[in-house]
């Protein structure tokens, strides 16, 4: 690991004062320390924000504001999260392991890097790690990579489970920089790779995620997260689905839907949501909505299986939700 200097920030203004072009924020470290061991990340200085104050607070309108430093395990255990946003708790609990969830933070989860094997291996070219070096994944090991929104420069996927229900919820990410505070929609936080995959998000250098706000969505009490993976636990998603469903009799009033494991960002399914509005709450119309969304899919040579997996996961999750009282 490259040597690094270390500074601990006691509050947000100290964190902003300490950060510069050679420094990286350190929170739980579960991804960053791993990448530093691999030589993928080589910061000259770490600014430790792990112990910045953080809590989960009611916003007064039925929503919740989660501080960036709150650990994943604490968010998943919060009774308000479990009752109002069960798919958020389920997504967190489906990710990583108990030990990792105790270290990993709310902000860090959103800013974790792809697990594409070429990105993680410094002996290989990778346009995300080393712009212009090429993308071996296009013709190489890409079974678990993108089917939507990829570019010739990068076919990586965003690995977060947590971000998937947040995309469906229209969560808002609070950000603080030298220039002041701003709010970024979760669905706008992560970028598609285009011709600059080195940038995962729209954050400017030195900007700090301070909180994630979950807006009120009463029908999210009927929500769920389904994760399809190669083993039963402690594995990244091949495909995951987050959905919330509001029905009136046998008809869909409104649905929220997002996919994980399929693109460079959590994939909000607005096309499917449009198809679901006013549709009958049946397997046929759920599958039709999934097909409408997945019409845009462009599978790579070895990941065509993700399309039917996504279709089935969307259909069965929506059916489960429709059958719930």
């Amino acid at each position: 690991m490259r040597e690094f200097a270390y500074a601990r920030a006691g509050d947000q203004s100290e964190a902003l004062a300490e950060i510069d072009g050679d420094a990286t924020f350190l929170a739980g470290g579960t991804n960053l320390v791993d990448l530093m061991k691999l030589g993928v990340e080589t910061p000259a200085r770490l600014v430790d924000i792990r112990r910045l104050p953080g809590s989960i607070d009611d916003t007064g309108d039925g929503g919740l504001r989660i501080g960036a430093s709150v650990p994943n395990s604490v968010v998943a255990a919060d009774s308000r999260v479990r009752e109002r946003y069960p798919f958020v708790a389920q997504a967190l609990l489906s990710g990583a392991s108990g030990q990792l969830r105790n270290l990993a933070t709310t902000g860090g989860n959103l800013l974790q890097r792809t697990r594409c094997v070429y990105f993680m291996d410094v002996t290989k070219p990778c346009n995300k790690r080393e712009p212009g070096s090429g993308c071996p994944a296009l013709e190489g090991d890409h079974e678990n990579l993108a089917i939507l929104g990829w570019s010739e420069a990068c076919v990586a996927t965003h690995p977060s489970d947590f971000a998937v229900p947040l995309a469906a919820l229209d969560a808002q990410v609070h950000v603080l920089g030298i220039g002041g505070a701003r709010v970024v929609a979760l669905t706008d936080l992560h970028r598609l790779p285009g011709d600059d995959p080195s940038r995962d998000t729209v954050l400017e250098p030195g900007e700090l995620v301070t909180a994630v706000e979950l807006p009120p969505l009463p029908f999210a009490r009927r929500s769920g997260y389904r994760k399809v993976r190669e083993r039963a636990s402690f594995s990244f998603a091949l495909v995951s689905v987050a959905a919330a469903l509001d029905t009136d009799g046998g008809t869909v009033r409104e649905a929220r839907l997002a996919l994980g494991g399929v693109a460079h960002k959590p994939w909000r399914c607005l096309t499917a949501e449009d198809a679901l509005r006013g549709a009958r709450a049946t397997a046929e119309s759920f599958a039709r909505a999934a097909d409408a969304e997945l019409a845009a899919a462009r599978p790579l040579r070895d990941n065509g299986h993700k399309v039917p997996i996504a279709r089935n996961a969307i259909t069965t999750l929506l059916l489960d939700l429709a059958e719930r009282p």
Binding site: R8, D48, S73, Q90, S97, L103, A232
Partner: protein
């Protein structure tokens, strides 16, 4: 070399140490304090052999930078026994023959201690059906909650009953 001084309480004993900022909690325990019970399996947070309790919560000590945990209370496998007697989970692992080579065992035991405390707090898991109901710790729950600890000998068939018995 960038160095920092930190203070840690390890198994009830206060230590003040100057260390390279790159030192993980795992390397601090093993290389500086001679506490070699915590094992370096994968060194990437994937195997759980390095699991210890930090301020009561189980974590992968291989991914925790020691400087970031300045002031913390760490309990490793060496600190679980009390008054000369083994911790109930240590006894249960012996009674159930819950290991073969033993390399993953310190991490398994520390992880199980933290896991049972999480159950006590009412934390749900991925396999918990009703997120708002009390947790019933059956074998599926134990397997899911212990999935961060790998046993290459495949002693799971005895690890699960060992944990179940200790929980009862």
């Amino acid at each position: 070399m960038a160095r920092r001084e930190i203070t840690l309480n390890v198994n009830g004993v206060e230590h003040t140490l100057e260390l390279d900022t790159r030192t993980t909690l795992l390397d601090l325990l093993r290389e500086r304090l001679g506490l070699t019970g915590s094992k370096k399996g994968c060194d990437h947070g994937q195997c759980g052999a390095c699991t210890v309790l930090v301020d009561g919560l189980r974590v992968n000590s291989c991914l925790a930078l020691a400087v970031s945990h300045d002031g913390a209370a760490v309990t490793s496998i060496e600190g679980l026994a009390e008054n000369g007697g083994l911790h109930p989970l240590q006894r249960s692992f012996i009674e159930h023959d819950a290991f073969q080579c033993g390399y993953c065992t310190p991490g398994q035991v520390c992880s199980a201690v933290g896991m049972l405390d999480e159950v006590e707090r009412g934390w749900a898991s991925h396999v918990t059906g009703d997120l708002t109901a009390p947790v019933a710790l059956d074998d599926d729950e134990i397997r899911e909650r212990m999935s961060g600890n790998i046993c290459r000998c495949g002693a799971y068939v005895n690890i699960v009953p060992a944990i179940r018995a200790a929980a009862e």
